[in-house]
Amino acid sequence: MELSGAEILVRFLKDEGVEHIFGYPGGAVLHIYDALYTQDDVKHILVRHEQGATHAADGYARATGKPGVVLVTSGPGATNAITGIATAYMDSIPMVVITGQVPTAVIGSDAFQEVDSIGITRPCVKHNFLVKSVDEMAETLKKAFYVATTGRPGPVVVDIPKDITDPNVKVPYTYPETIDMRSYNPVMKGHSGQIKKAVDMILEAKRPMIYTGGGVVLGNASEQLTEFTRTLGYPITQTLMGLGSYPATDKQFIGMLGMHGTYEANMAMHECDTLIAIGARFDDRVTGKIAEFCPNAKIVHVDIDPASISKTVKVDIPIVGDVATVLDEMLQILKSSKTRPDAAALANWWENIEKWRGENCLRYDRNSALIKPQYVVEKLWEVTNGDAIVASDVGQHQMFAAQYYKFDKPNKWLNSGGLGTMGFGLPAGMGAKLAYPDQDVAVVTGEASIQMCIQELGTATQYDLPVKVINLNKRYMGMVRQWQEFFYESRYSHSYMDAIPDFVQLAESYGHVGMRIEKPEDVEGALKEAFAMKDRLVFMDFITDQEENVYPMVAAGKGHHEMHLASDRELA
């Protein structure tokens, strides 16, 4: 079969099983768009801004586990996509971003809409490719999908000069079923000796702690993790990225850890004697002050990326491998071992943890005449039976969603953890809704974040993506304001937003339903009404308490045991 470069690209995507791509046309990709026009296999979602395309593809990938695919033009198309690429990179999300490029002959001449996309994206991709000849098109694309989806996943950029997609140049095409790359061989199986050693250490623990991250979600290891945790009876905490891979409503789950983690999780981290880290990377928002991180613990660390091991915290037993495979092997050993965890020590440990849990660190004023953002998230959880996909933006609302929406399943919680990208939520939620039209998708956001990608409300109209937007409207950039209150003596420098639009009218102008909710007693009813409208995007503008802060809080550079609980009181 002889095809042009543009036709090969489209045909390849079909053969690779790609159903949806998110994109925006422009000069350098017009041949590709022409090839898209004549087929129905690969559905193209036209976004309103390339950042929206990358976040939507990212949300699609987080919800499905399949790679998100983006198509943008050269120059500004590529630069607009950067924020979304970097977002995916920081959270290890599989994504393939196809960027158009000016024709090969004019590369380097500062041609119209030329930018060095390979150079600009290099620090924020897992890998990138420039297609130099139409003969390399299919193989390069296969490599891109292979690299993006295997090992520690990540975004891969494929830059395609316009002449490579010339409709008049046709070459033979066959779909490359497999690909061999001598320089890229991710390790799957962990070292058996290390795994045995680790299990021995785990069974000897008196005060054990399981700490897991996004790697468990990405590595599809939720089942294994759940069995592992229940077999041992140990407490488990998760990072912001790990939520959902162990049921949050389970008694053994003691909440998220880190800067806005629970008191019980952070105290247990501080006091534990054995830390079992799985698919987590010891991020600074999680560890707090490194010198005071788990001061009494021996550490086992399972991760697919060797570079994540002993990067910030030195570990005792490193295991490089696929999390699911390693956990399977650990379970095997656990089941055949005669040694059991020390029941007396464990009972003692749980007693301590229950005492910390008794602090009820997530309490807030339920009698307030103002809408508390925590209350909205709690009601959201109830109304959606804890089963919605929740995409969030970045800031206080993100932390409230992580703390109060108890995720029982993986791939339900979509948020920009590593890069902290405002504007992520709406397009990410739309990407998930596209993949799962029958599931409830909530976008938890704030009035500042939502305005960073609000143009995608138009995309939602065009492609009928009825997500439910939960706008926790504080009239302040909440997290900035909180830090200014705590660390800058309440000098609220440029964190207040004047001229906030009327979100109800704004949503309506895009053809959606808008609601404004101003009283706590109206919250539940509004949520019920909104989620009952299955086929409509509903924008719920909750006017919330302007001064609410996120607690507990471990200030940057402090140890886990140095938490602020509520505003009126401090723990040592």
């Binding site: 390979i118 150079g119 290099r122 620090p123 897992k126 890998h127 420039l130 690299v147 790359m181 001598r182 320089s183 890229y184 990326d305 060797p306 570079a307 002993s310 990067k311 030195k314």
Partner: protein, 164 residues
């Protein structure tokens, strides 16, 4: 401590900038970096001299290994190895006595004079970096016009080595 990291990487455009970019993005030191194709023209061999604590060197090797273009790498300083650097150094000569002195120094260091004018000698020297440093300090009381160093090349001793 100083480490010599030797890499085999795909001989593709952009591979060098991936390595250089990694060092600058993560704040690692590069003392020298050399790269050229090997007998297999699809592969380049790169030698990087870097410094850092054991933890940093561990991260450097892990991060380098993570680059998709890097096929294989070895930290030569972990075992017996040979280290060579080449230098071309141009020194102004002032009178017969100084010309004699430079000639003698070049001989002592087993260098050769590869270019001569009425007013200058250009000396070629190879050896490890310390030897080249020593030569520079030996001629430091004279007028050094130009110094060009190749950066370090390294190879392990014996059967051990870096190959596919």
């Amino acid at each position: 401590m100083k480490h010599i990291i030797s890499l085999l990487l795909e001989n593709e455009s952009g591979a060098l900038s991936r390595v250089a970019g990694l060092f600058s993005a993560r704040g690692y030191n590069i003392e020298s970096l050399t790269v050229a194709p090997t007998e297999d023209e699809t592969l380049s061999r790169m030698t990087i001299v870097t410094t850092g604590s054991d933890e940093i060197i561990e991260q450097i090797t892990k991060q380098l290994n993570k680059l998709v273009d890097v096929v294989k790498l070895i930290d030569l300083t972990e075992g017996a190895h040979i280290e060579r650097e080449m230098m071309l150094i141009k020194v102004a000569t002032d009178g017969a006595e100084q010309r004699g002195e430079i000639k003698r120094l070049a001989d002592i260091f087993r260098g050769g004079i590869v270019d001569v004018t009425d007013a200058s000698y250009t000396i070629q020297l190879t050896g490890d970096s310390d030897k080249l440093d020593a030569f520079i300090s030996a001629v430091s009381n004279m007028n050094i016009l130009e110094t060009v160093r190749s950066g370090v090349l390294g190879i392990s001793r014996g059967e051990k080595g870096l190959h596919l």
